[in-house]
């Protein structure tokens, strides 16, 4: 059903999904999806609205657990460990698999406390200087340090939309995750802020495995090296981004990226 290109030659999989289905009540939102997420690249999920790409993304850090009516079946692995097994604690899973949401959602706390939140709950810093160092490092990696270093005590919600989103990325980085999931991270931002976020994703790739859901095919083409095209709860085609956009095998993929529907 799913066409997987055979020229990807990825070195192992950071995360693996096998026959994953998601139900909202009786409705099946994701239908038997399998995919390997490369540790080295940015993987983009594209597809029309309502195709289930965000729902699928939320499986990787078990955020669907927070929706009472959602039910996930199938196998998902992080470094070969089943994330639904009893041995895997959801708290640790989410420390290893961070997430950035569609709408920037900084906590109504100071910029410093926003970043320090994760390290504090996971006990990553023993003393204040350690925490300071984590905050500075995370903000620097998110490209926000120079803009906010003089006002770390200001509320995170007082920043502009683009800054807020980079703050959220810094917050996710602060707990030193292995995978970062991004659910349309730039869809609520203006073009300049979007460009900054894309630049940031580029810089972070390689250090973290990144999975990004996006509506914009241009964005997928710009930031990702692997692309999966979703349609009606299934992956239609998965391969190198350049191949998906220039040499799609499936007609549905071709139609979507040439703008015939979606």
């Amino acid at each position: 059903m799913t066409v997987i290109h055979d020229n990807m030659e990825d070195t192992g999989a950071k995360m693996k999904a096998r026959d994953v289905s998601v139900y909202y009540g009786d409705k099946k939102a994701i239908d038997d999806v399998s995919i390997d997420i490369s540790p080295d690249y940015v993987t983009a999920f594209i597809g029309p609205s309502g195709c289930g790409k965000s729902t699928f993304l939320r499986c990787f850090n078990r955020m669907n657990d927070t929706i009472p009516s959602a039910k996930v079946t199938g196998l998902i692995e992080l470094d070969g460990d089943d994330i639904h097994s009893n041995a895997m604690d959801v708290v640790q899973l989410r420390a290893r698999v961070g997430m950035v949401f569609q709408k920037p959602n900084p906590f109504p706390k100071s910029i410093y406390d926003n970043i320090a939140y994760g390290p504090k709950i996971h006990g990553l810093a023993e003393k204040k200087p350690d925490l300071d160092a984590i905050v500075e490092k995370s903000l620097t990696r998110a490209g926000l340090w120079d803009e906010v270093k003089d006002r770390l005590d200001d509320s995170g919600t007082a920043l502009s939309g683009g800054q807020q989103q980079r703050l959220c990325i810094a917050r996710a980085i602060a707990v030193d995750p292995e995978v970062i999931l991004m659910d349309e991270p730039a869809s609520a931002l203006d073009p300049i802020a979007t460009a900054k976020i894309e630049e940031l994703i580029d810089e972070l790739s390689g250090r973290y495995a990144i999975v990004i859901v996006t509506h914009s095919m241009q964005q997928a083409a710009r930031v990702s090296q692997r692309t999966a095209f979703f349609h009606l709860g299934q992956i239609v085609e998965y391969g190198r981004t350049s191949d998906i956009f220039t040499n799609p095998i499936e007609d549905r993929t071709k139609d979507y990226i040439t703008g015939r529907y979606g």
């Binding site: 850090n61 955020m63 927070t66 009472p68 959801v90 708290v91 640790q92 899973l93 989410r94 420390a95 961070g98 997430m99 949401f101 709408k103 959602n105 900084p106 906590f107 109504p108 706390k109 939140y117 994760g118 709950i121 996971h122 509320s155 919600t157 959220c168 917050r171 996710a172 707990v175």
Partner: protein, 461 residues
């Protein structure tokens, strides 16, 4: 004719004006369909109706004050009034009797001298009723005609109607504010009278409360008016014991209901909890006096505390605390539930547990609502009277032992104001001073709470 009849007439005429205004507006709208009218016909209709009803209402209000006096004057001018007694009190009662008979509210007069007044009364009432109706109709017609003539295609009826609506709403909100000022002014006046008899220093710093209503009114014993035991009792029962019970239980139930409970369970438990707030306080009083207080006494005796009585501050405070749980929990519940789901998801996605998310994200963001709920609960507890009367006695007592009898400001106010009292005796006036102090304390508490909230709130917008 009663004012109600006049108002009904006004409404009837208003309806007629409404229909007439609309008909006229319709006709000119149909006459020139290509001209876009400034206002829809309904607005013209309301404009006419307003011009009829409001002047008439103003007139009726005025008339219901003036008419009875005009009636009395014309009766006094009648020959039957020659024999009226000169003494005011007796004279008034004769007049009242005659009027009651004339209106058909009484079968006959008690004083024979009032008999000749009945007929003049009946006549005068009839005459002024007729005048009232005629004036009502005239005013209605004048207003209606004025408005009706102004109904033209280019007349901006909509803005006029909207402005009237605004003024009516403004007046409605002024009523509440003016009432508050009125209450405050009357308190201030009576309090001033009290403080001219008893010095504020004795009142606010004295530690003995035992006003004697039998003592001389002009030269009160100021040492019997020390309100400290009352303030302490109020604070101890309402703000300390009750809050120790209500705040933790209320917040924990709110957190359970919003974060842990199954939605179906929440659907049942939340309204059930809110029903607690609707139980009359007398019922809580029974519960406190008959069940809780004896149980506390028995427990105290069992652990070897002698001299525990069946009336204790603890019993009243605990039951009061249970009573105000819904105030705390309901407001906390609403404000926690109002924190955007994005905040919660963000925290979960960082790997925070449920309780960490509640403690560090939801709770600070919901703080203003939570504090508001607690403030509401405190003012409710401070003002509570019934439970204290029934479970903690009416005797003032300055003590830090929760098993002692104690009383509160409101209980004393009730005690001071009920029964036969002379209105210029300091015992009576002290009730107003107590009320005034209570008013000030609640005001200050509210201001402090507002500032605290402003300072510590984590705004998420």
């Amino acid at each position: 004719m009663s004012p109600i009849t006049l108002i009904l007439i006004a409404i009837g005429l208003g309806l007629a004006g409404w229909l007439a205004g609309r008909a006229k507006a319709w006709s000119f709208q149909k006459g020139s369909p290509d001209v876009r009218p400034v206002a829809r016909p309904t607005y013209h209709a309301w404009y006419v109706a307003i011009w009829i009803v409001i002047p008439v209402l103003a007139f009726v209000t005025l008339w219901s004050f003036i008419a009875p006096q005009l009636v009395v004057q014309s009766v006094l001018a009648s020959p039957g009034a020659q024999n009226l007694p000169a003494f005011g009190f007796e004279r008034d009662s004769w007049l009242a009797e005659a009027r009651a008979v004339a209106l058909g509210n009484a079968p006959g007069v008690f004083n024979a001298g009032a008999e000749p007044l009945i007929e003049p009364f009946r006549e005068a009432i009839g005459r002024y009723n007729l005048i009232g109706v005629i004036l009502t109709v005239l005013i209605a017609f004048a207003g209606g005609t004025f408005a009706f003539l102004r109904v033209r295609p280019d007349f901006k009826a909509r803005t006029r109607v909207e402005r009237t609506v605004m003024i009516v709403l403004l007046l409605a909100s002024l009523v509440a504010i003016l009432t508050t000022f009125g209450i405050f002014a009357s308190l201030v006046f009576e309090t001033y009278r009290f403080f001219s008899l008893v010095s504020p220093v004795d009142f606010f710093f004295g530690t003995f409360w035992g006003p004697d209503p039998m003592s001389s009114a002009d030269n009160p014993d100021a040492s019997r008016y020390g309100a400290i035991p009352l303030f302490w009792g109020t604070l101890f029962i309402g703000a300390i014991i009750a809050m120790i019970v209500a705040i933790p239980l209320g917040l924990m139930s709110a957190i359970y209901l919003t974060q842990y409970a199954d939605p179906k369970l929440r659907q049942w438990v939340k309204p059930a909890l809110e029903i607690l707030a609707g139980v009359p306080t007398v019922v809580y009083g029974y519960f406190a006096a008959l069940t809780v207080a004896p149980a506390i006494r028995d427990a105290a005796v069992a652990i070897g505390i002698s001299g525990a009585s069946t009336e204790s501050a603890l019993a009243a405070g605990v039951v009061m605390g249970v009573m105000i749980i819904p105030f705390v929990s309901s407001m906390a519940d609403d404000s926690i539930a109002a924190v955007p789901a994005a905040m919660r998801d963000g925290s979960y996605a960082m790997g925070a547990t449920k309780s960490e998310t509640i403690k560090k994200v939801l709770f600070p963001a919901a703080l203003p609502g939570i504090v508001a709920g607690i403030m509401l609960a405190v003012s409710r507890a401070i003002g509570e009277t019934m439970i204290v009367v029934m479970a903690a006695s009416t005797a003032a007592n300055l003590s830090a032992n929760p098993l002692d009898r104690m009383t509160t400001v409101t209980v004393q106010i009730v005690k001071l104001l009920t029964g036969e009292q002379s209105t210029d005796h300091p015992t009576y006036l002290s009730a107003f001073a107590l009320g005034f102090a209570l008013f000030l304390v609640t005001l200050v508490l509210n201001v402090i709470a507002l500032r605290v909230v402003k300072r510590f709130r984590e705004a998420y917008e």
